[in-house]
């Protein structure tokens, strides 16, 4: 008898090799149109074995041969060394060959000069891989993991080893490989040669690093612009976040719960919507601008386009995130620390300065870094109101979609952006990780946080009140603006924009989605619905591996997955365009690439939700299940998953919502066939059709509010509102990047 799991994966591999079309086909596999298009002998849809038998694509033949090898293990026990070693060898050799042929042979024959030198011109070519190739590749992956498990890796647990290998492989293929290819393309010149000197001239160009504006010139380098903006936004959002947190926790303010609701805003607001509102308020035809012009005869200017507008928009957009972080931090300071200070004769003000603030310092730095990274990665706002103030993320976009189409330039800009965000990531992880004050153990004193000194309290109230008011004005503007015929010119109210975008008609064939927005709306829904469960699944699986399993290389595994979280969406977008435009993985223009980008952009949401709730489930539950005879897959399914239901639901809903609001990655990846809501809206903004853009945004906000509201009802607000307060990522706010934090939940002080 052959081991059943070996049978399974060998069969999967053989199906991939011998039955399914090896290369990518036009159209959907599951509509089976390909079956009637000349299968199996037509070259386009033929399985590899037919191709090989016909003497074509002979480099695929070894894969088939390798897949037959595991059959030799029939009758062998799992514990025999040959069992494990053979599977490892098959997996490794097969996998390596699979990748080598995929990357080595492309549209123009051999991809690498040394292959040409070695074997001469190939005289054949191949297209992107299809379902057959996919199954075969997966089979090698899992045969390899079976072999490892048989040799005793992670206690010989097939499921765990398989899960680890799988996560490593997909993260490698869909995050690190594209980024690596992007980095590589930075040293490719327009003519397709490699050149370091061209790279360095571009990298150190005035355009990036010029300091003209300091000496009175018109503009500074893009990198400096981004950095300067990010630092300002980081500082301001941190201060505002602290102010709000103090109002909620230290001022006796009674409507704290209402203020907390503000933190849901960044989750449901597409990033550029704030920018739009700023234009409606302060742009050339904005109400403030026109009002001032009328009252004081001030000449309207374009002052808001550029640094000031970006600063306002990003501060509005990211303050709730800082608030969420700071609330956790401020509440985390043990009240007995502050009480102790008071019994030691420190006044309220002295207590605040010498004890409360220093204890919040790590949190302040954390909030700053988040604001910094968010600002760096923000794409929507600079796109709509950047004016002449160029920043990295939009420059990357224009390098790719602009007239110049300069991949290398985009890659270089992306490297600079990546350098900044990863720098901040490192700072957070190593500098702050060591500094969190988690000392005091044991039973705590209950205690209450003292109120702020009166002067400080009034200041804090004033700031928070004005900012809340401003936020409300912004959202009211969006809502109102969607009903205004032509903002700045004709303020009469109309449903015109909604009608244009969302009108529905009836024809003899049923409902006719006549509005211009329906196409992108349904695509978005569809893509979001497909990617949400996949995101949640891979996220929770990864979380489970991180929290519950110990294996060699776990630190590297953790570091790799966490690192991938600090990558801005723009960079994912560019690298996907660069990596998945050509074989072996050819996906541009498909819906799959959108789904993939969502999965890997939003995976952190699932991971963090999973980590947060899994750390709360006592490990002894797993262990007792294991000792009761269940294997680790059964334990995961029967014990962990049911307990994780709230986390699963949260991960599902948040990845759904984030898929609906994302812009930075997908703007590179949409196509005429697969257009998304956000990119459609941005397109309308670029055409100055603000009415439709705002109406559409309002609808999106409404849909997402409804979704979040339903989930709140289903899960109960405890799980998503308060409890995750110190962990904004677990709550899954909309974000261009996600920072890693401590994997273990931190309890500060005793309390």
């Amino acid at each position: 008898m052959l081991h059943p799991t070996v049978v399974l994966w060998t069969a999967v591999g053989l199906i991939g090799y011998a039955l399914l079309p090896w290369y990518g086909i036009d159209g959907n596999l599951f509509t089976f149109g390909w079956l009637f298009g000349g299968y199996p002998f037509d070259d386009d849809s033929a399985p590899a074995v037919i191709l090989n038998l016909g003497g074509e694509k002979l480099w695929l033949a070894p894969l088939g041969a390798l897949l037959l090898l595991p059959l030799a293990l029939a009758g062998r026990g799992k514990s025999e060394p040959v069992f494990g070693y053979l599977l490892i060898a098959v997996g490794l050799v097969g996998g390596a060959w699979f990748l080598l042929q995929g990357f080595g042979i492309g549209l123009r024959g051999f991809q690498w000069q040394w292959l040409n030198a070695l074997f001469g011109e190939l005289g054949d070519r191949q297209f992107g891989m299809g379902w057959g190739a996919l199954l075969t590749g997966v089979a090698f992956l899992f045969l390899f993991s079976l072999g490892l498990a048989a040799r005793g890796a992670v206690g010989g647990d097939e499921f765990v080893v398989g899960a680890i290998v799988f996560v490593v492989a997909v993260v490698g293929i869909f995050i690190f490989m594209p980024i690596f290819q992007m980095l590589l393309s930075a040293i490719v010149t327009q003519d397709g040669d490699y050149s370091l000197s061209v790279f360095f001239t571009k990298f150190f160009s005035e355009r990036l690093w010029g300091l003209d504006c300091v000496t009175g010139g018109p503009r500074c380098g893009v990198a400096w612009n981004s950095l300067f903006l990010a630092i300002l936004v980081g500082v301001i959002t941190t201060v505002l976040g602290l102010v709000f947190a103090l109002v909620v926790t230290r001022s006796g303010f009674r409507f704290g719960a209402t203020l907390r609701a503000l933190t849901v805003l960044p989750i449901i607001t597409p990033p550029f919507v704030i920018g739009l509102a700023i234009i409606l308020l302060f742009g050339m035809s904005g109400i403030f601008t026109q009002g001032l012009a009328e009252l004081f005869g001030l000449q309207p200017t374009r002052w808001v386009y550029g640094l000031p507008g970006l600063l306002i928009a990003q501060t509005l957009a990211f303050t709730p995130i800082a608030f969420l972080v700071m609330i956790g931090v401020v509440e985390g300071v043990s009240p007995s620390m502050e009480e102790a200070a008071q019994t030691l004769r420190a006044s309220r003000w002295q207590t605040f300065v010498t004890v409360s603030l220093p204890l919040m310092r790590p949190g302040l730095a954390n909030a700053f870094l988040l604001g910094f990274i968010e600002s760096m990665a923000d794409f929507g706002n600079p796109l709509v109101l950047g004016g002449n103030f160029d920043v990295l993320s939009t420059e990357i976009f224009f390098a790719i979609v602009g007239a110049q189409y300069d991949q290398a330039q985009a890659a270089i800009l992306a490297i600079v952006l990546l350098f900044f965000t990863l720098g901040a990531f490192y700072a957070q992880r190593f500098w702050l990780g060591a500094k969190s004050y988690t000392t005091v153990s044991g039973k705590g004193d209950a205690g209450v946080h003292p109120h702020l000194p009166a002067g400080l309290r009034n200041t804090v109230f004033a700031v928070a009140a004005s900012w809340t008011l401003f936020t409300l004005v912004v959202y009211a503007t969006i809502f109102y603006g969607s009903f205004v015929r032509l903002w700045g010119v004709d303020f009469s109210l109309t449903f015109h924009h909604y009608a244009t975008a969302f009108s529905v008609g009836w024809t003899e064939f049923g409902i006719h989605w006549r509005g211009s927005a329906w196409n992108s709306f349904w695509t978005t829904m569809q893509i979001a619905l497909i990617s949400a469960p996949l995101t949640a699944a891979i996220g929770l699986l990864t979380a489970w591996l991180l929290v519950r399993q110990n294996f060699a290389g776990k630190n590297a595994f953790e570091f790799g997955t966490m690192l991938s979280f600090a990558i801005p969406g723009t960079i994912i977008g560019v690298s996907y365009v660069i990596a998945f435009n050509v074989p072996p993985i050819e996906l541009t223009g498909t819906g799959i690439i959108l789904v993939l980008s969502f999965i890997f952009r939003n995976m952190p949401v699932g991971v963090r939700a999973g980590i947060a709730s899994m750390s709360q489930i006592d490990r002894s539950l797993d262990e007792s299940s294991l000792t009761l005879g269940a294997n680790s897959w059964q334990t995961f399914r029967k014990v962990i998953l049911p307990l994780l239901r709230p986390a699963i639901l949260a991960a599902l809903v948040y990845s759904f919502v984030r898929a609906m609001t994302a812009i930075s990655a997908i703007i590179f990846l949409v196509s005429a066939r697969y257009d998304m809501s956000t990119s459609y809206i941005v397109g309308r903004v670029e055409n100055n059709e603000y009415g439709i853009a705002i109406a559409y945004s309002t609808v999106l906000i409404g849909v997402m509010l409804a979704v979040i509201g339903l989930m709140q009802l289903a899960v109960g607000r405890r799980n998503i509102g308060r409890r995750t307060g110190d962990d904004p990522q677990a709550a899954g706010w909309r974000s261009n990047v996600s920072l890693p934090g401590q994997t273990q939940p931190v309890t500060i002080g005793g309390g």
Binding site: L344, T439, S441
Partner: protein, 358 residues
């Protein structure tokens, strides 16, 4: 070396009540008490009875809902913590994790108007007093639990407060350290003549350290007295049971003659201190060690049946079923031949039983 002065002052509660927020039941209900200067007084009671609330009202961390609080004879009812001359050692120690041990100890001194030299010297003296003079430059996280606790004590002591408060100071220490640390606290208190209010729910700890114990139950004072008073003459069933286990018997006071009551407990008649009781039905408490077992039917005994005999090394424990229910008896006679299942006579020791209220 700097000598610590004792500024010890008395603490007085006059009809103090504390109600949290909008809750109906008070956490402390109309309590009056007086703590003499230089004494260590313990607030003892089950968890939730209001001990911590009392302590926090002395510190000024909570303000009394009604009533008056006096420290050293001055009314401090409305003063906030900062302005009271009271220091507190928190249950979690509440050491500032971002300051070294020395900075922690200097913290309060800096706000007390001492000049730099005094601050340094007093802090050093405080650390020496608790035996941590060489640990000044460490962070609290680099100390063991016991050491952290001593830092907390030093930090409170160096301010020479009128009153020093301890909230369950031993609860975060392991069992072995507890005895040692509580002796240290008592030693320092006596050496410096401090007024200490000490909160615990552990009756053994309370008996060992206190000059006086105030037993609390349900937001009220159940009894106030010396450790010996409480143990030997509990005022009511709650105290009798809370401080060392006691057996409670229903009895009947047949006559009162001056200070002496004639009490009938089942078939047995006893002459006991009346403690202000009147004739009629009453209750009697007797400690396990103050009940003796004799032969069945012996004079001055009532009948019982031995349910269980447990040998615990230093003594024997008996469970005896009687007409009053199951009672618990301890005997030092480990060589006794009594067997479970046997019928015995149960007898009160000479100075054992006391009349209690309700």
């Amino acid at each position: 070396m700097v000598e610590f002065k004792s500024n010890a002052a008395s603490v007085e509660f006059r009809n103090v009540t504390k109600v949290y927020g909008r809750s109906a039941a008070p956490a402390v209900n109309n309590i009056s008490l007086f703590i003499e200067a230089g004494k260590l007084v313990t607030l003892l009671g089950p968890s939730g009875c209001g001990k911590t609330t009392n302590l926090r009202m002395i510190a000024g961390l909570e303000l009394a809902t009604s009533g008056q609080i006096l420290i050293g004879g001055n009314d401090v009812t409305r003063l906030p913590a900062t302005e009271r001359d009271v220091s507190m050692v928190f249950q979690s120690y509440a050491l500032f994790p971002h300051m070294t041990v020395r900075e922690n100890v200097q913290y309060g001194l800096k706000f007390s108007g001492f000049d730099k030299k005094d601050v340094t010297e007093k802090a050093q003296a405080g650390l020496e007093l608790v035996g941590l003079s060489s640990f000044g430059d460490r962070l609290p996280s680099q100390l063991s639990g016991g050491q952290q606790q001593r830092v907390a004590v030093a930090r409170a002591l160096v301010l020479e407060p009128q009153v020093l408060l301890f909230d369950e100071p031993l609860s975060n220490l392991d069992a072995k350290l507890r005895r040692h640390v509580r002796e240290e606290i008592r030693e320092i208190q006596q050496k410096l003549g401090l007024t200490v209010v000490y909160v615990t729910h552990d009756q053994e700890e309370a008996l060992a350290v206190s000059d006086r114990i105030i037993v609390m139950n349900n937001a009220e004072i159940a009894q106030d007295g010396t450790p010996r008073d409480l143990y030997e003459a509990p005022a009511n069933a709650f105290v009798a049971d809370f401080i060392g286990e006691a057996n409670i018997f229903d009895c009947h006071i047949e006559a009162i003659a001056g200070d002496v009551a004639v009490v009938r407990v089942g078939p047995v008649s006893l002459r006991l201190p009346a403690r202000g009781r009147a004739a009629g039905p009453a209750k009697l408490a007797a400690r396990a060690g103050r009940i003796e077992l004799a032969a069945e039917g012996a004079a001055g005994t009532f009948p019982g049946r031995l349910e269980k005999v447990t040998y615990v090394g230093s003594h024997l424990e008996y469970r005896v079923l009687t007409e009053f229910g199951e009672i618990f008896v301890v005997s030092n006679d480990v060589d006794s031949a009594l067997q479970a299942g046997q019928d015995v006579g149960v007898k009160f020791a000479e100075r054992g039983p006391v009349l209690i209220s309700g």
